[in-house]
């Protein structure tokens, strides 16, 4: 029993039964094996503790991490209001879980605490096998702005080039808070992490967004926290207006969708941009982004189409599967964390994106995932050493996990 996975999905309207039914299906998919860890993605409208109780009514007292979502994916099913549960069992891997609350007080320190918590927990389980750590899966609530600070805190402890993947969970409205939970502890201002370790564990991470740069770059001359005020002596609104002209009517409902198609790209490295979607155009012409932004960074208008987004998915998938091709094995499961904005652009082709992944992996490889506003993922995947994890928007992250043939 190397590493076995069981998955289940339920869209029952009652949270408790949604959890319970997803657990029944996941257990049945797992077969005779006893689960050791459960990772559940549940729509933000479901009360998270009811989901926890529903799942545990079937599973018993096993480690269970629940993360809010805006939409879920299981194999080739895309469902908004649902609970997806992934059960893991086997002795080829170790896992450590940690959770930190009051994240917004100091995200950088929270990142440190979470990373140390994960390492301590792993040490307690494995006794000096910390070097076998392979992947950190981290999800935080959308209760703070300095998302990159959380990542910096984590990277300082786990390693700058260590694959830290996951995201910031989100809801459709800023009025609906998002939550993460570990067993019966839940937090609307917290972060939960799972550290996977194991000598024979094979990890592949791929991540791309698919928006292409457009127009001329601008330097951020004035910014404060997540507010961009000046771009080369021009207001961000004017910069947008320059390209979009008549299409940009802030009174109109489709401003959101326009900024989804045309987000801003923060230059991270040569020809590589991290996407930021303007959340709000302020009366003075400044814009609010999802995370803090630094002055003197170069920024460009980006453009997304279905074609470029799907090409990005394919690239991310190829990167995630590269280590498995070398080992001549298939991943046991793939965790997908994708920007909910992708759904806006892909429309009905959201299923094409999922099928694209499904077609490239065998039937036995389980796919589970969430759609959310922010992703922690290396820009371009983990196969290049230089690629450290960054806080991104709009990206598709695929983290594939498998076990080497011994």
């Amino acid at each position: 029993m190397a590493l076995k996975i069981g998955t289940g999905i339920s869209s029952d309207t009652n949270a408790y039964f949604a959890g319970k039914n997803a657990a029944i299906k996941a257990l049945s998919s797992l077969g005779v094996d006893v689960p050791e860890l459960g990772i559940a993605f549940s729509h933000y409208e479901y009360p998270i503790l009811q989901i926890n109780d529903g799942i545990k009514a079937t599973l018993g007292e096993k480690n269970l991490v629940i993360i809010n979502s805006q939409a879920n994916v299981m194999n080739n099913t895309f469902k908004k209001r649902s609970v997806v549960l992934n059960l893991l069992s086997g002795h080829s891997y170790y896992h450590a879980i940690s959770m930190v609350k009051n994240l917004s007080e100091n995200p950088y320190v929270a990142g440190h605490h979470l990373a140390w918590g994960l390492l301590d927990s792993l040490e307690a389980k494995t006794h000096k096998k910390e070097s076998q750590k392979k992947l950190a899966l981290v999800f935080g609530s959308d209760s703070f702005i300095q998302k990159t600070e959380l990542l910096r805190g984590l990277q300082e402890v786990l390693g700058v080039r260590f694959p830290i993947v996951g995201g910031i969970v989100s809801s459709d409205s800023s009025l609906s808070p998002t939550e993460v939970s570990f067993n019966r502890q839940s937090s609307r201002d917290g972060v939960v992490g799972i550290l996977f370790a194991g000598e024979n564990l094979v990890i592949g991470v791929g991540s791309h967004h698919g928006w292409i740069p457009l127009g001329l770059p601008k330097k951020i001359k004035k910014a404060e926290a997540n507010r961009v005020q000046n771009l080369d002596d021009m207001s961000p609104l004017k910069y947008y207006f320059q390209y979009l002209g008549k299409h940009l009517d802030l009174r109109k409902e489709d401003t959101d969708s326009i900024s989804t198609i045309y987000p801003l790209g923060l230059e991270a490295e040569k020809d590589n941009y991290v996407i930021r979607f303007p959340k709000f155009f302020e009366p003075g012409g400044s814009i609010l982004l999802d995370s803090q932004v630094a002055e003197n960074q170069n920024l460009r208008l980006m453009m997304g189409t279905r074609k470029t987004l799907l090409e990005a998915t394919e690239k991310a998938l190829n990167q995630a599967l590269e280590p498995f091709q070398k080992e001549k094995i298939s991943p046991k499961f793939i965790i997908l964390v994708a920007g909910i904005e992708r759904k806006d652009i892909l429309g009905v082709d959201i299923n094409t994106e999922i099928n694209l992944i499904k077609k490239k992996v065998p039937e036995t490889t389980k796919i589970i995932g969430i759609y959310t506003r922010g992703q922690f993922a290396p820009l371009g995947g983990s196969s290049k050493l230089a690629n450290t994890s960054r806080y991104q928007n709009g990206a598709i992250l695929l983290a594939a996990v498998g076990v080497k043939r011994v």
């Binding site: 001329l216 320059q242 002209g245 299409h247 409902e253 326009i258 045309y262 189409t305 652009i345 009905v348």
Partner: protein
């Protein structure tokens, strides 16, 4: 000295000249460079401007393309929703289930948050919520005096914000917690049955024609489904009523049948009892008549002998009648066991021929038998089979005139032996064919009027054949003779299975 001064001045002049030339060249070069730089800058500006122009063009084209794509998506999603409803309709006729098949995600895919169906009462004076989505478990309230405002709607109306809300519909928007909405009248054959309200909690941009078209399609499909559902309910109700009536009649018939069976059983028992009671004195009568006729009790006059012969003859007929009656009763009551044994068909034919041939010769009737069966043996009660054949052949003899023909053929047919007993006699009227095997039935014809009979022979034949799991039928036409057919299984059921 003057020469030196002149030479110095000349050198100075040349130096100054060289310097001037150098400066002139330098200035010229700088001018050229500046010009070149200015031209390059100009080129870059033009390239940048081109990039900007191209980018704007690209933005414009892409945005328009994406809008078209979204419109198409919306139509595709609406078609998917319609397909889903159609699928539900094909599985159920329950209106609630059909309406429930539209879930929150379907509404969101169409760009809305909430949906409610209101149905008018039959008299059009009342209104009730039939189904709702987007309100959790709490049914939205219906405002008072809203019927007039919504029943007057002739086509779909769109209300983009509270500012544009007609006064009469404000209470509806408030109760439904909607800022913008589309109200779609639901009509069946020009009868207004209710409305579908779909809307948002925020201000909604003006719906496109295709939005309205899609919602109209959806509403029409739902109305059609509701109509079908209602028709089906009516049909189902009628069907159930009919079935209930059929069940009731069947029950009555079963009861009547049971009563008839009881009567029939009583009749059989009575006939059996009477026959038994009659047979004993008849045996005595026959015995005494035989003793008297033998002359052992004294010599008899010719007239006395004649009368005794008649007594004997009628007694025999009566005994036959009673025996037949008793046999029928016994077979019907299941009291007679058929002694099934492996029987040679040729032996049966031989036995029957021995009995029938003398009579045919006497009556100058040709008698033929044909054996074409693939098997020689059959599992039957030999005596009873012979009884059937003799009975049928005796009838054939009875109804066939001199120089006529009677006979029987044996053929095989799918595990059965098929017997055909035929004659070239008077034939049977069509109207009598159905009653031929009934007890005591005698066809009304000259021969029957002349020749005596009990009307029990064919009934007994039928009972014997059915007791062998066989069937009997007849083909006959007046003046063309009769063909009696019967089929008997070659093997018994238990033999076939085992």
């Amino acid at each position: 000295m003057y020469i030196n001064i002149g030479l110095g001045l000349l050198i100075l002049f040349f130096i100054l000249l060289t310097l001037a030339t150098f400066l002139i060249t330098l200035l010229g070069q700088e001018k050229i460079n500046k010009k070149k730089l200015l031209s390059e800058l100009d080129y870059m500006r033009r390239v940048y401007a081109d990039v900007e122009t191209q980018s704007k063009l690209l933005v414009d084209t892409n945005l328009n393309f994406q809008r078209i794509q979204r419109e198409l998506d919306k139509k595709l999603k609406a078609l998917n929703t319609l397909y889903k409803i159609t699928q539900t309709v094909s599985n159920t006729f329950e209106t609630d289930k059909i309406l429930e098949s539209i879930d929150q995600e379907d509404i969101e895919e169409l760009g809305f948050e909430k949906l409610a169906f209101f149905i008018f009462s039959e008299d059009g004076k009342g209104i009730r919520v039939k189904n709702f989505t987007g309100y959790g478990d709490e049914e939205p309230e219906i405002p008072d005096n809203i019927i007039d405002s919504i029943s007057a709607l002739k086509g779909p109306i769109y209300i983009g914000s509270k500012v544009h809300m007609p006064e009469g519909l404000v209470p509806l928007a408030e109760k439904l917690n909607l800022t913008s909405m589309i109200i779609m009248p639901l009509s069946i054959r020009e009868k207004h049955i209710g409305v579908m309200v779909i809307g948002n909690t925020k201000t909604f941009q003006k719906p496109s024609e295709s939005d309205i078209e899609i919602l109209s399609l959806l509403a029409n499909q739902l109305v059609q489904s509701i109509e079908n559902s209602s028709l089906y309910e009516q049909l189902w109700k009628s069907y159930q009523d009919l079935e209930e009536r059929v069940k009731e009649r069947t029950r009555e018939l079963e009861e009547a049948n049971k009563a008839l069976q009881v009567v029939d059983q009583a009749k059989n028992e009575f006939v059996s009892a009477v026959a038994h009671e009659l047979r004993t004195p008849l045996t005595s009568i026959k015995g005494y008549a035989t003793i008297l006729a033998s002359g052992r009790l004294g010599k008899l006059e010719k007239d006395q002998q004649e009368r005794l012969k008649r007594i004997n003859k009628h007694s025999n007929e009566l005994v036959n009648l009673i025996n037949n009656l008793l046999d029928i009763s016994r077979i019907k009551a299941g009291k007679t066991t058929m002694h099934i044994e492996d029987t040679s068909l040729r032996e049966v034919i031989r036995d029957v021929e021995e009995i029938i041939t003398p009579q045919t010769e006497e009556l100058k009737i040709e008698f033929r038998t044909r054996f074409e069966a693939e098997t020689e043996n059959i599992m039957v009660d030999k005596i009873q089979l012979e009884r059937v054949l003799i009975n049928l052949l005796s009838n054939a003899l009875k109804f066939t005139p001199e120089l006529g023909q009677i006979g029987f053929n044996l053929t095989s047919e799918d595990g059965y032996i098929k017997f055909e007993v035929y004659d070239t006699g008077a034939g049977i009227d069509d109207k009598d064919l159905d009653k031929l095997f009934n007890e005591f039935f005698r066809a009304d014809n000259n021969i029957n009027r002349e020749k005596k009979g009990t009307g029990l022979g064919l009934s007994l034949v039928k009972q014997i054949i059915e007791a062998h799991s066989g069937t009997i039928w007849v083909n006959s036409k007046i003046g063309q003779g009769s063909h009696f057919y019967f089929k008997l299984p070659i093997k018994r059921e238990e033999q076939k299975n085992g």
